[in-house]
Symmetry: C2
Subunit: 148 residues, 2 copies
DNA sequence: ATGACAAGTTAGCCACGGCTAATATAATGA
DNA sequence: TCATTATATTAGCCGTGGCTAACTTGTCAT
């Protein structure tokens, strides 16, 4: 059975289009951890004046060694500045990204709550959804959240 | 600077709650590939009577060896049945999962379209969002999609 | 029936992000 | 001060999911 145009009634999406979607998802997942980290680091700095690995670990729900490894990658990528055994800070690039992520996060949460979701679940679902929301979709979310 | 109750105006969510959210996201990501594969396999079987690795690869946007490796895992997990050099089929468990994923996928897409998104982008965003939607949220999506 | 091409598999590489155990440094308080 | 505790890092393990290259098997047309 070779792959030709199907004789079905509802046209299935072409293979390449599907592939594009999955590529986009994988791309989102590649950026996800960096986004959540810088966002969290920004919040910790705002609250405490610094971001300590131990606090990051507690909030990310992972162990300190895991945090260390990720932070090294973020440093390598220029999002984070660090000195051994010291707190973590954001580079300008990291701070910019954090700001964008924070905004997006809040829009998604407000949208879900507006839709009727309890804030707890909204926060939980948003943590995943936020990374898969295109600019267009985010605009619609924002409008809906503010709207009525 | 130790971590105590902050003197901020807006109460930040406790660390454990945040950790829970991230745990949920990681859990979703662990199931994601299996869900997308069985969903796709179900569709291919519906269209062509069988699901061939080469067609899976084209639609997932990956190479055949990658598909082979993932299929082996799915077989190990009892979602898929296969014989060497033959097409892939779903176990009852796999078929059940596929059905649920298909439904969820369609709800998310219809929701996004109803919100005002073009079908292209809706399909793309849905591919990621679907895995981060709780039962509650899915209900709200369904209602909104049908509603008005 | 068989040879050529398509499809599938295997082997082996890599980066990532979890983890534990062990070690090194910093911070605290008696 | 300095001993104890808290925090951070390193080393090393594992499973996953990408990839390419090489090989095996299946399919199809002549
Ligand atoms: Mn997130
Ligand atoms: Mn998906
Ligand atoms: Mn899907
Ligand atoms: Mn995701």
């Amino acid at each position: 059975m070779t792959e030709t145009t199907p004789n079905e009634d509802s046209e299935p999406r072409p293979a390449e289009m599907r592939a594009e979607s999955f590529h986009a998802v994988r791309e989102a997942h590649r950026n996800e951890l960096a986004e959540d980290y810088v966002e969290l680091i920004a919040e910790l700095i705002a609250q405490f004046g610094e971001a300590r690995p131990v606090d990051i670990a507690a909030r990310m729900g992972v162990t300190p060694p895991t945090v260390a490894k990720v932070l090294n990658r973020l440093a390598r990528e220029g999002l984070v500045a660090r000195a051994k055994y010291r707190s973590v800070f954001l580079t300008p690039e990291g701070a910019t990204l954090a700001e964008a992520c924070l905004r997006r996060h809040e829009i998604v949460v407000r949208f879900l709550v507006r839709l009727g979701l309890d804030p707890e679940t909204a926060e939980k679902d948003a943590e995943g959804i936020e990374h898969h929301v295109s600019e267009r979709t985010l605009d619609l979310f924002r409008t809906f959240a503010d709207g009525d």
